[in-house]
Amino acid sequence: MDFTYTDDQRAFRDAMRALLMVEASPERVREGWELDAGISPQLQELIAAQGLSALSVPEAFGGLGLADTDWALLSQEFGYYAVPDAALNTAYPAACLIAALPDAPSLQQATLPRLAAGELQLAISHPLNPLVADADRADLVLAWADSEVHAVPRSAVDVSALASVDPARRLYRVSLETGAGTRVADAAQGEVLWRELINRSNLAICGQLLGLTQRILDISIDYSAQRKQFGKAIGSFQAVKHHMADVAVQSEFAKPVFNRAAWAVEHGHPLRDVYVSQARLACSEAAALAARNGIQLHGAMGYTWECDLQIFMKRIWALASSWGDAAFHKARVADWLFAPDTEIGPGKTFI
C-alpha cells in the first residue's frame, strides 16, 4: 500500500511546471485568442520541440509511453497554465486508443510516430463529445459510429465552427461519413476502446480542473494580499479567508479521488468507470467553487477583460459538461452504488 507518487513522477511534473511557467504565460495564452488556432505559434512550436506530443505514444512508436498516473500529474500543470486542448489533452486519450486497436497495424504505423513527432493532429467525435475541439486543424478524426471506431481523414469531414465562452477553445460540429473503409475497430472492440477513451478524456479534464482550481487560489490569494480596503489587505478579513479555505478543502479532498481514478484506469480496475466519475464530480465541484469564489474575491476587477482570472475561470466554465455532464457521471456512480450486490466500505471500494 503506497498512495503517493514516485520521486521520478514528481520530478517530471516539476520540470514541466518550470517549462510552462516561462512559456505559457497569460500573455501568451491571450495571444492565441486572436489566432485561428487558438494557441500561439510559439507555444505550439514548444510543444512539438519539447516532444510533449510524444508523452502518451508508446515507446515502440517513438513516444515516451507515459502511464495514466504520470498524466494525472502533468494534466494538472496543463490546467494550471491553461494550455489549450488539442496537442495534449486530446492526444493523450486518442493516442492510447490508437495504440490499443487490436487489428489496425497500418493505422498505428501511419499515425503514432507522426503524433509523437508533433506532425499529426487528432480530433475525437463521440456522442458524449458533440463539440469537437480543433476539428478543422486535425489530420484525422477518430469517430464513434454505433460503438465502432472509425478513423476519418480531414478531407472527408465537414466542420462548422461554434464560438465558445473560452476564447482559446476552437469547437466545431462535425459531419462525416463512415463506412467499411474508415472502420478500424468493430462494435465489440469499440465498446472496450471507447470506454477507456471516455475514462482518459475525463482524467485529462479532472487534472485540468484541479490545476485551474489551484491557479485561481494562487492568483486570488496574491490579489487579496495586495488589495487594501479599510486600511488593510482584504485577505486579512475572515469572510474573504473562508472563501478561499472552502476552495482548498474541496480541492484537497478531490485530489485523492482523482489519484485513485488514474491508478484504476492504469491498472484496468473493474470499478474504474465509477472511480473516474466520482473523481469528475468532485473535481468539477471544486473547480466551480474556485471560479465562483475567485471572482468574488477579485471584486469588480474580476469582472474585467483585463484581469487574467478570466483565462482560468472561463476554462472551468467551458469544461463543466465536456465528456459527460453531471447527470452522466452520477448515473455511472448510481448504477453501481445502488445495484443489489454492491458492497461498499473498507476492503470493497478502496482498492
Binding site: 498512495f3 490569494i221 486579512s236 475572515q238 479555505a245 482548498a248 445502488f338 482498492i351
Partner: protein, 383 residues
C-alpha cells in the same frame, strides 16, 4: 503508487475480524454517558486491551502492538464494521497517549500509558473554560507553584466524560500575569484530589456527557506536568494536531455510517425518490466518505515515507465534520416523518444527527479551522 494491501496487512485484517466476531457484544451496550453504560464500556476497554487492541500503534512495552498506521486504519475499519462499542477512553488513548509518547518522561510514560490502555485510568480533556472556547489562549485557571506542587484554582468546562473519569489533562496558567499562549503548562490532574468539584452538564440528548470542573486550591505534584513548565501551549498544539489531523476520527466511522445510509436508502427507495435530491445526497455523501478514506490513506502513505503532517491536515476536521452532518441529514430526509420518533429504526440516526451537530463546534470550531487553513496552508495574512 500501489493500492494493494500486503499479505501481512490482509492477514492482520483477518485476525482483527475474527477477534471482533468473537468478542463484540451481541447486544449494544447502554450509552456510555449512563453509569451502567460507563461501567460496561470500561469493561469493554479491558477486553480490548487483553488483545493489545486498546492502543494498537503504541509500543508493546507500553500496552500496545507496535502496529503501523496502515494497520491502525485496518483495525479501525474492522472495528467499526463490527459495530463494536464506542471508545470510552478515546480522549486518553488517541489524544493524550500520543502526546505522552512525544513529550512525556520515561517515568510518566511507564506510569500512565499501560494503565490508560487498560482503562484502569479513565481520562477526560479539560481545555475549555467559560471565557476560553475557540479562543483557547484566553485560559485563566491558575496553577501556582508551591514547593513540589502546583496549586490550581479556577474552572474548566465542556469536559467530555469527566463525570466518572479518574484523571484530566489540560492547560493551566502557571506564570502569574502571563498573556495568551505564554506561561501555560500542560498538567495531568487526578480527579480524586481534594478541592475538585465536578458538576455534570446535561447534553442535547438528555445525558450528562460532559461536565464543569471547579478547582479550589487543588494540589498537584509537579511530576504531573507534561513537557516543560510554561511550554504547555506547544504540547497542547501537538494534541490538537492528532485530534484534527488523524487519530480521533478515522474514516472507518463514516464508512460504517455510509454503509448504513445505503441500506436505508435502498429499503425506502420508492418514497425517497419522490425527491430526487435525496438520491443525489446519498451519492454525494457516500462519495465524500470515500474521499475522506482515500485522503487518510494518502496521509498515512506520506507518514510511512517519513514525511510530516503538513498544514493541509487542517482541512480534515472541516471535511469530516461536514461529512457527518451530510450523512445523517440525508438519513433523516429518507426517514421522513418517522425521523422524529423514538423508535428502533430512527433512534440511532437521530442520535447520530444530534452528535453530528457538535462536530463543527468541538476540537476547534470550523470557523477557526477555516482561519487556520487560510493562514497556515494558503498563507493569507493574519490580521
Amino acid at each position: 503508487m500501489d493500492l494493494h494491501y500486503t499479505a501481512e496487512q490482509n492477514a492482520f485484517r483477518a485476525e482483527v475480524r475474527a477477534w471482533m466476531q468473537q468478542h463484540v457484544p451481541r447486544e449494544a451496550l447502554p450509552d456510555y454517558d449512563t453509569f451502567e453504560g460507563f461501567q460496561a464500556h470500561r469493561a469493554w476497554e479491558k477486553t480490548l486491551n487483553s488483545a493489545g487492541y486498546a492502543g494498537i500503534t503504541w509500543p508493546e512495552a507500553l500496552g500496545g502492538r507496535g502496529a503501523s498506521l496502515f494497520e491502525w486504519l485496518i483495525f479501525e475499519e474492522e472495528y467499526w464494521a463490527a459495530d463494536a462499542p464506542l471508545r470510552l477512553n478515546q480522549n486518553g488513548v488517541f489524544l493524550l497517549g500520543p502526546t505522552l509518547m512525544e513529550y512525556g518522561t520515561e517515568a510518566q510514560k511507564a506510569r500512565f500509558l499501560p494503565r490508560m490502555a487498560a482503562c484502569d485510568d479513565m481520562w477526560a480533556q479539560a481545555w475549555s473554560e467559560p471565557g476560553a472556547g475557540s479562543d483557547m489562549a484566553a485560559i485563566r485557571t491558575t496553577a501556582v507553584r508551591d514547593g513540589d506542587h502546583y496549586v490550581i484554582n479556577g474552572q474548566k468546562t465542556w469536559s467530555t466524560r469527566a463525570r466518572w473519569a479518574d484523571w484530566i489533562f489540560g492547560l493551566f496558567r502557571t506564570e502569574a500575569g502571563s498573556q495568551r499562549h505564554h506561561g501555560l503548562s500542560y498538567l495531568l490532574v487526578p480527579l480524586d484530589t481534594p478541592g475538585v468539584t465536578i458538576r455534570p452538564i446535561r447534553q442535547l440528548n438528555g445525558l450528562a456527557g460532559f461536565a464543569e470542573i471547579f478547582f479550589d486550591n487543588v494540589r498537584v505534584p509537579v511530576d504531573c506536568c507534561l513537557g516543560a513548565e510554561g511550554e504547555g501551549w506547544n504540547v497542547a498544539m501537538a494534541t490538537a494536531g492528532f485530534e484534527r489531523g488523524l487519530l480521533l476520527r478515522s474514516p472507518a466511522r463514516y464508512q460504517q455510517t455510509a454503509r448504513r445510509l445505503r441500506t436505508l436508502y435502498l429499503a425506502n427507495r420508492d418514497a425517497a425518490d419522490r425527491d430526487l435530491s435525496i438520491r443525489d445526497a446519498v451519492i454525494r455523501a457516500i462519495s465524500a466518505t470515500e474521499a475522506y478514506a482515500l485522503s487518510t490513506y494518502r496521509t498515512v502513505s506520506m507518514l510511512a515515507k517519513g514525511s510530516k503532517i503538513g498544514p493541509e491536515s487542517s482541512t480534515n476536521k472541516i471535511f469530516w465534520s461536514e461529512l457527518d452532518l451530510l450523512l445523517h441529514d440525508t438519513a433523516l430526509r429518507i426517514l421522513g416523518s418517522r425521523a422524529e420518533l423514538d423508535t428502533p429504526e430512527s433512534r440511532r440516526w437521530m442520535e447520530g444527527f444530534m452528535f453530528a451537530q457538535a462536530g463543527p463546534i468541538y476540537a476547534g470550531s470550523n470557523e477557526i479551522q477555516r482561519n487556520i487553513v487560510a493562514e497556515r496552508m494558503l498563507g493569507m495574512p493574519r490580521q
